[in-house]
């Protein structure tokens, strides 16, 4: 007998894990982990925006993530500061600005812990809609730019010389990342989004001999982590988002003793 909320949690978690697999793989290949993290840190600012404009909070987060992605893209092209410095400024600036903005709204009380670490057990049908429609669209978008994105991952200048619209593809990719980061927030929270992107992908690496295989395995491993995390959280009454991430880490560590693909 599965409780309704548990079923929704499992469904939402699996939806997020499926999307996170392919995106997480690109995040790992292109060393964008900190980029995703920075976007996630702006979530509270999105929540504040949602309250101000009286729009859906997830939509507010998506809007802010998109704006931040654009700002990051533009500022990285200036190359005035090292990109990790730049990302650090944006990440913590956005997080603090979000907290300050929310403090100004006297009649708004939010469950901060839920935003920081996720609140998968409180997933509503609307949230599921966001996950499956938003995540589905993001996956479709990724599929459309898959080949040029692989070419850019191999060598950006080479792709450019061969006529691939590198800037446009990068824009689209970062926009999609911003979208899924916003959607994933509900499940693992802003501080753990990156974990669900990169840990399954890093685990999948050992068993994959081509990019598609790695993306697929990352999705499957993510689903396992979600399942195990939910079970563990239910069993031991631990916070769900962190338990999912702990499960992902355990799967990663366990995978190290398994033989590598092709060797």
């Amino acid at each position: 007998m599965i409780d309704d909320f548990l079923f929704r949690a499992l469904l939402g978690g699996i939806g997020v894990a499926l999307v996170a697999g392919p995106f997480g793989s690109f995040v790992v290949w292109r060393r964008l982990a900190y980029f995703g993290d920075t976007l996630a840190h702006s979530a509270l600012l999105g929540v504040a925006l949602g309250f101000i404009l009286h729009i859906n909070l997830t939509l507010g987060i998506i809007v802010i993530c998109q704006i931040l992605a654009i700002l990051l893209f533009v500022s990285q092209r200036q190359r005035q500061l090292a990109s990790d410095t730049m990302l650090g400024i944006f990440a913590h600036g956005a997080l603090s600005l979000g907290l300050v903005a929310l403090a100004f709204m006297e009649n708004v009380r939010i469950d901060l812990v839920a935003y920081l670490f996720g609140d998968i057990l409180a997933i509503s049908n609307t949230d599921l809609g966001w996950i499956f429609v938003g995540g589905g669209l993001a996956l479709l978008g990724l599929l459309l730019i898959w080949k040029p994105l692989l070419a850019i991952t191999i060598h950006e200048d080479l792709a450019r010389v061969e006529g691939i619209p590198v800037d446009r593809i990068n824009w689209i990719f970062l926009g999609l990342i911003a979208l899924i980061v916003a959607v994933m927030m509900k499940v693992v929270g802003m501080l753990l989004v990156t974990a669900l992107l990169i840990i399954p992908a890093a685990t999948a690496r050992r068993f994959a001999t081509n990019p598609e295989m790695m993306a697929l395995f990352a999705s499957i491993i993510g689903c396992l982590a979600v399942g195990a995390g939910l079970y563990g959280s239910f069993q031991w009454d631990t916070p769900t988002g962190p338990t999912i991430v702990v499960s992902a880490c355990l799967i990663f560590v366990t995978s190290l003793v398994l033989p590598k693909a092709g060797s």
Partner: protein, 249 residues
């Protein structure tokens, strides 16, 4: 007169307050091999990037012939170790479904044995050969090679340069390449351009290796075994001290 493929004229490049390239002129025509040599930091790769249209010059123009197809071979790939990609897959991406072209090219460069290896496991020479095959997939009019023999032992370097001139002979394409190695490249090139922000000097390797100053510097034995570019005395720039590096080789 063979077709002019690419012309770089009066190019200056400033990045920030640094002048990286100054008054660069170069022309490359069909069937010609032009090698840019110079010390580290001379702007060789930068000049290639300008010629490829990846960097916009501050002043001056870069004019490719209409419809020019360029095959580019970068210095190296910076692939993350987590990126699972075999040579076969990379070539499949590059050939856009026309796989029949790939195998003969891989045979030509002598790299069929690495087809199923992950890119990260290739040796320097293997990777250069694979990247060369990859550049040839596009049937380029102009091959642009950034340090094509980097990380390859001397024996392999000679072979690679021979391969490059054979490719030129068979296809009639032009080659624009960068090298910081002076000796071995000389046998494989038609024109040499010595770069140190500006063009210190340029000409055919023969005219240069027969230069009296060359024999003086390296002795007659050196003349026999290698051709090294030496400055034209009439064209001496007093601010070109860096060309002293040739003496150390």
């Amino acid at each position: 007169m063979s077709r002019l493929l690419l012309e770089v004229s009066n190019v200056d490049l400033m990045i920030g307050k640094q002048l990286l390239l100054q008054q660069i002129n170069l022309k490359i025509s069909q069937g010609e091999i032009l090698t840019i040599i110079g010390p580290n930091g001379a702007g060789k790769t930068t000049l290639l990037r300008v010629a490829l249209g990846l960097l916009k010059p501050t002043t001056g123009t870069v004019t490719p012939a209409p419809g020019l197809t360029v095959g580019y071979m970068p210095q190296r790939l910076h692939l993350d170790p987590t990126f699972p990609l075999t040579v076969r897959r990379m070539l499949a991406l590059a050939c856009k479904g026309d796989w029949a072209k790939v195998i003969p090219l891989m045979e030509e460069v002598g790299a069929t044995h690495v087809l199923d290896s992950p890119l990260q496991t290739l040796s320097g020479g293997e990777l250069q050969r694979v990247l060369l095959a990859r550049a040839l997939v596009r049937e380029p009019d102009l091959l642009v090679l950034d340090e094509p023999v980097q990380g390859v032992d001397v024996h392999g370097q000679v072979e690679l340069y021979q391969l490059i001139s054979r490719i030129r002979d068979q296809r009639g394409c032009a080659v624009l390449m960068v090298s910081h190695d002076l000796h071995l490249v000389m046998a494989a090139t038609d024109q040499v351009l010595c770069l140190n922000q500006h063009i210190c000097c340029s000409g055919t390797p023969e005219s240069v290796s027969n230069h009296p100053a060359f024999a003086e510097l390296f002795g007659p034995a050196a003349v026999k075994h290698m051709a090294v570019y030496v400055h034209d005395q009439n064209h001496h720039h007093s601010h070109c001290e860096s060309c002293e590096w040739r003496g150390k080789k």
